[in-house]
């Protein structure tokens, strides 16, 4: 932890020395180098554009590392993801790669999930175990999803090497979820599936997104592919629509309940993020899908392990303080 702090300090100092332009963040109550923030926005935006995910799972820990309080970070990152995923959603919409019917059902679950998520976030913040919850959720989700993606993509790459057809989506291959009632035909995605798991996936993504300050794209994309057997062509665009809507709602809810959304922070992150996302999306076209999934899996797993390490390693200082409120 301490060597990492040193590295961050070095990076911060380098930015401050070469580009001495500090920007004061009014809600976070501290000043940050504007180029450091822009660079973070660009880097995370690049990753998000490349893999079709919001990038919140990277941005949130980045901002916490530079000293912004977790509450402000989670609330502000929601609006940053709104911007980058809306930009992505529009691009996919123009390419007719959005299953709007699917998106609406996911959304009805997602909006309810977001409301529950913000409620849980507020309760836990009052209890003082927010750090622990965020750490644990990151650990479990990132390692699980990262690990599964890695295994799946390695299999796909091996199959390709052996010149076998890609078996990711066989027509007629069903999971147990396909046996549930209230079935519906999704024309754009060419699947016939019950709306119950679709709604459930939307709800889970909504809760996770609001509590962890992430869009949940990295979770949603594999869920849609593996559980619903949705074709890759419509998955990313549909996920971007859902992420836009849930994160837009999360922004408003966080502003209403916790008053922690920092407009200045959001603006700088957004500008870097949307530009980075466009460059990321372009580089992604040059790479085969399996390799992209492999790299994303690796990245997710690495962030997950970092969180795990943070939870089990002895902290440099066992004590921490926080202000509970102003005394008159």
């Amino acid at each position: 932890m301490s060597s990492e702090d040193d590295r961050w300090t070095l990076l911060k100092n380098a930015c401050e020395r070469n580009y001495p332009l500090q920007l004061y963040l009014p809600i976070a109550d501290l000043s940050v180098n504007i180029f450091l923030l822009l660079a973070m926005g660009l880097a995370v935006g690049f990753v998000s554009g490349m893999f079709g995910v919001g990038g919140g799972f990277l941005m949130t820990p980045f901002l916490i590392f530079i000293g912004i309080s977790p509450g402000v970070v989670v609330a502000s990152v929601a609006s940053h993801i709104t911007a980058s995923s809306f930009s992505g959603a529009l691009s996919y919409w123009r390419r007719r790669a959005v299953d709007i019917q699917m998106a609406l059902i996911l959304l009805s679950g997602g909006l309810l999930g977001t409301l529950s998520g913000v409620w849980i976030f507020t309760k836990l913040r009052a209890l003082g175990h927010l750090d622990l919850l965020i750490g644990f959720s990151y650990l479990i989700m990132l390692t699980t999803v990262g690990g599964l993606m890695l295994i799946e993509s390695v299999r796909a790459i091996v199959r390709e090497r052996q010149q076998k057809p890609n078996l990711l989506r066989r027509p007629g291959a069903h999971t147990w979820m396909h046996g549930l009632p209230v079935k519906m035909r999704f024309k754009r995605s060419t699947i016939y599936v019950s709306v119950i798991p679709v709604w459930g996936i939307g709800y889970i993504i909504g809760v996770v997104g609001a509590v962890m300050g992430i869009g949940g794209g990295f979770l949603l994309v594999p869920m849609l592919i593996y559980f619903l057997r949705m074709p890759t062509a419509t998955v990313i665009g549909t996920a971007a629509v859902l992420t836009t809507a849930t994160m837009a709602l999360a922004t408003v809810m966080h502003a209403l309940t916790n008053h922690l959304v920092d407009a200045v922070l959001v603006l700088v992150l957004m500008v870097g993020g949307v530009i980075g996302a466009q460059f990321g999306a372009r580089s992604a076209h040059k790479m085969p899908a399996e390799r992209l999934r492999f790299l994303l899996g690796l990245l997710i797993l690495a962030v997950g392990f970092r969180f795990g390490y943070g939870l089990i390693s002895r902290p440099a200082n066992l004590y921490s303080i926080r202000a509970l409120g102003a005394d008159i």
């Binding site: 009014p26 809306f86 930009s87 959603a89 837009a248 200082n317 004590y319």
Partner: protein, 250 residues
């Protein structure tokens, strides 16, 4: 009795009460207001002061100043290992803790006065906290760590060099104010020492305020949170839309 006579009587009483060897302290604080705007990255408050004495002093004076920011209730938490992970377990609440506490002096504190005098006068980081009602326990790990963390954050500081005397009577004190201080009223208590005892003291203040966009953002987020949230959301959607248009490939 007319008012002039009354005034004269008061002065006469005051003159009688005043000890023969009297010293006073006059100070001026600049700026009286620290303005937090978008390029704010900390500031400095300068105090000019002069010792008023009937005749040129034969002895040397010392000055110590305590600057305190708005008071807060602070929770200090201790992590413990439970089931293999480190989580916050026990905690203690400290009330009336200054959000900012800076102590400057003309010489090292132990050279200015005895520990006992410093404690009674509330000079020194710990002495200020004790004077604010924190139980004076020397071995309380929560209090020790509270102070250490605040020192690391730059919100608490203790320097023996902040006050410089130009002549025997005139001095200048500099208080650096970091970027992470809260807005509000800041109090400066300045004490004049001679021969290890306090012979005069003054109270002055300055404020830290947010102005312009920063002030607007804070007030909007607190008072008009729905509109604020909707505005941020619209800003995000607009940025996303602009980006998707700007980078559209035809």
């Amino acid at each position: 009795m007319n008012s002039l006579a009354r005034l004269a009587a008061i002065f006469a009483i005051l003159a009688l009460c005043e000890p023969a060897r009297s010293e006073g302290l006059v100070v001026t604080v600049a700026p009286s207001q620290i303005i937090v705007s978008s390029n704010y990255s900390g500031g400095t408050v300068v105090i000019f002061g002069a010792v008023q004495a009937d005749k040129l002093p034969s002895r040397s004076y010392d000055v110590a100043a305590v600057v305190t920011g708005p008071r807060q209730t602070v929770e200090a938490r201790r992590k413990a290992r439970i089931g293999g992970v480190w989580i916050n377990r026990d905690s203690r609440i400290f009330q009336n803790v200054p959000s900012f506490l800076s102590l400057i002096a003309s010489r090292p504190l132990n050279a200015i006065a005895s520990a006992d005098v410093l404690r009674r006068q509330g000079i020194g980081v710990k002495n200020v906290l004790v004077a604010s009602g924190v139980p004076p326990d020397d071995d309380d790990p929560y209090l020790i760590n509270l102070i250490n963390i605040r020192l690391q954050q730059g919100l608490f500081s203790e320097r023996s060099s902040g006050v410089t005397f130009f002549s025997r009577r005139v001095f200048r004190a500099e208080i650096p104010v970091p970027d992470n201080v809260p807005v509000g009223d800041y109090e400066i208590v300045l004490k004049l020492f001679a021969n290890g005892a306090v012979i005069a003291e003054t109270l002055s203040s300055f404020t830290v305020v947010k102005v312009g966009v920063e002030d607007f953002v804070v007030k909007a987020a607190a008072n008009y949170s729905l509109i604020y949230g909707l505005a941020i959301m619209s800003m995000a959607l607009f940025t996303g839309w602009v980006a998707s248009i700007a980078f559209q490939r035809d």
